[in-house]
C-alpha cells in the first residue's frame, strides 16, 4: 500500500475510521495545539487538542486527521 498517496503503515491515516496513538511532546496552550510523536513511526505532528484538553507532555492521545479525539488512559487498558 505504500504506493497509495497519503498512506503509511499499510493504511490511510487520514481517510479511514481508524485513528493513531501518539504521545504529547510539547503543548502550545495559546494556540491550542500540541507537538506529538506517532507511536507507529515516531513522526512528529502538530495536533489540535481542544477535544482532550487539558493535556501535557507524556500523555497518550488518539489522533485522527490532525485532531486528538480521545485520551488513552492507562487505568482503563
Amino acid at each position: 500500500m505504500s504506493d497509495h498517496d497519503g498512506c503509511v503503515s499499510g493504511h490511510c491515516i487520514t481517510c479511514g475510521d481508524e485513528a493513531t496513538p501518539m504521545t504529547v511532546l510539547r503543548v502550545d496552550e495559546a494556540r491550542g495545539l500540541a507537538l506529538c510523536a506517532a507511536d507507529e513511526d515516531g513522526g512528529h505532528h502538530t495536533v489540535e487538542i481542544a477535544l482532550v484538553a487539558p493535556t501535557g507532555p507524556g500523555d497518550r492521545l488518539l489522533v485522527h486527521a490532525g485532531t486528538a479525539i480521545a485520551s488513552l488512559q492507562e487505568a482503563s487498558a
Partner: protein, 371 residues
Amino acid sequence: MKFVDEFRDAELGRVVANEILASVEPGRHYKFMEVCGGHTHSIYKYGVDDLLPANIELVHGPGCPVCVIPMGRVDDGIALAHEPGVIFTCFGDMMRVPGSNGSLLEAKAAGADVRMVYSPLDALRIAKQNPDREVIFFAIGFETTAPSTALTLKRARAEEVSNFSCMCSHVTIVPPLRALLESPDLRLDGFIGPGHVSTVVGARPFEFIPADYGKPVVVAGFEPLDILQAVLMILRQLADGRCLVENQYKRVVPYEGNLKALEVMSEVFELRPHFEWRGLGFISHSGLKLSEAYADLDAERRFRVPGVPVADPKACQCGEVLKGVIKPWECKVFGTACTPERPIGTCMVSSEGACAAYYNYGRFAREREVV
C-alpha cells in the same frame, strides 16, 4: 507499545479463537457485519478470518468514507479545483477516486492546483500561506473526521482567514445502517460496531439495532484481539439469548462519546435533508453541511458547483459490495479491469475499501482455509 502489543499477542489470539470455536452452534451459519473499513483492513492484514470457524462469515459494511462518495460529488470537487485562483485540498485517497471524467489526480495533471493534506489544519495553513488564493478543503469522513473539520472552521473564523472554505461531504453512520437493516436482500446476525466513530458519538446511538431489529452490536477496537473478542462477545449474546450494545473498546470509547466533539459539531454543522451514497442511493438526514452560522465558509455557497448526480459505471458492483451482498471477488471487474492502480470503483481506491483489502492481501480464494 502500550495499548497495541497486548492486543496482537498470537498466543492469546489462539485462546480466543478456541473459545469462539467452542461457542458456535454446529450447523448454524453466522453472518456478522464489520461496519468500519478500518476493521476490514485489520481483518485481512492480520488474517483474523483465518482464525474463525468456516460457519462464521464476515460481511464488510459501508464504513469506508472514501468508498461511499458518489461520482457526482467527485465531479463537483473537480469543478471547484478548476476555478481560477483556487487551491483545492483533500485527503490522499480522495485524489484517486474516479469521477465521470477522471479523478482529482488527473485534474491536477491537467493543470488544476490540487494538493494532498493530512488534516484540515494543513489546508488552513496553506490558506494562510497563500492569502491571494482561495483555498478549499474537500471534507469527507464520518463522525471521526467531522470534529477535525469543525475545529478548523472555528479556527479559520477566529483567525479571520477569509480565503478558506470547505466543501462539506461529511456523513453520519446511523442512517446507512438503518437503510442496510431495512434492505430485504441482507440477512445479518450481528454487528461489529465502529471503534473510532464511537469515540466521538459513543455507543448509545447504536441501541436502535438491538431494540428495533433484534441484532447484537459490539463496538470494537482495531487490533486482531479486539476483533476476535468482539466476535466472541456477539456469539455469547446469541447463545445466551441476549441482544444489546456492548463496548469491547472501553479503553478508548466512552459509552456517551466525546461531548466536546459533539458540541462543536452541532455548532458548525447541520443535517442535509438527504445525501447520495455510492451504491446505497439517497439516504435522508445522512450527510452534513455547514450551519447558517458558518455559511460564509461554505465553498458550495462561495462558488458554483454543478451538483449533477452521476450513475455508477455499469461494470462496477461497489454498491453490492458496500451492502455486503457480494464479496469483492464476486464483482465482474475485481482484479482485472479494476485494481488499486487503475480503480473503477471506490472500494478499490481506499486501503479501507473492502476490494482493496482483498486485493492487497491476496484474498482471491473463493473458499476460506481455516487453520
